[in-house]
Point group: C2
Chain length 182, copies 2
Amino acid sequence: MLHRPLIQHCKSCGNKVVYRLPDDGDTKERAVCTACSTIHYENPLNVVGTVPIWGDKVLLCKRNIEPRLGKWTLPAGFMELGETVAQGAARETTEEAGAQFEMDELFTLINVTRVGQVHFFYRAKLTSDQFDPGHETQEARLFAEHEIPWEEIAFRTVKETLLHYFADAKTGKFQFHHLDIA
Amino acid sequence: MLHRPLIQHCKSCGNKVVYRLPDDGDTKERAVCTACSTIHYENPLNVVGTVPIWGDKVLLCKRNIEPRLGKWTLPAGFMELGETVAQGAARETTEEAGAQFEMDELFTLINVTRVGQVHFFYRAKLTSDQFDPGHETQEARLFAEHEIPWEEIAFRTVKETLLHYFADAKTGKFQFHHLDIA
């Protein structure tokens, strides 16, 4: 169900682990070291990004890396230690698009339980329509709603976020959307 | 700065890792296996919980485990693989308080960058004032605002969430609060 490699060895001492119920009353099987008894927990990861806006257009990036090489995405990536959710979203927008922008509010929080991820997208106001994408991006381009390559969007959380963005834009009132994707 | 043990060994093959820049263009040092070259990423963890409400009172749990044994907290814990943020918050409320409740909206999202965590609290409507706390909890009890043991609250994110809850309750309008704790 979850596409992550199982833990084979203890990250503390390097010996083999087994998946079993720990001795501390925990009700879930964990990777427990057969030598030093360290318990290794695996938890969901946060993916953080933005909806960068220029007038009635949104900035998309054409991916230059797998997965989904050549497909279009909002700038986003894994949240890192040492940063807030919003700081991570801003960092990814700089790295992937080389955009200049001001961060706005949290717009979507989307659970992707099947892969153990939570995706967060903030609205961001572009302050320039010039971009300088990094090595992960083939091209960064602005799209009005009718220009969005809906069949070429890299990830479902990006598609859901764009759909909610253009729907809210019509009302002039942006709300926070909390969604689950099976 | 971050209170996590460094990775010493590869969780795939068990050999030693070194912290260095990977060869894939990454700009952060990662634990890279000296034998099989697997890159081990470390990312923030989500802590998920609720503000369980009964009339003008909030449910707090007296901790029966370290850290902060004997201090009072809202029911919360680490989000697990296979669940949404809200499902994790509900699970912790069941495990720690044995409460019966209906989940309401996301109330606070608090970055705790220093320890690499993001805390999420949902409002929850208690449907009973009888509780059956698990082994992690000495006592589960309802508190009106003037009864809250402010000096005995286990975690700052819990205190901030309670402060915002009682402030919003006075206005009758609950908003989503997005905070950073240094």
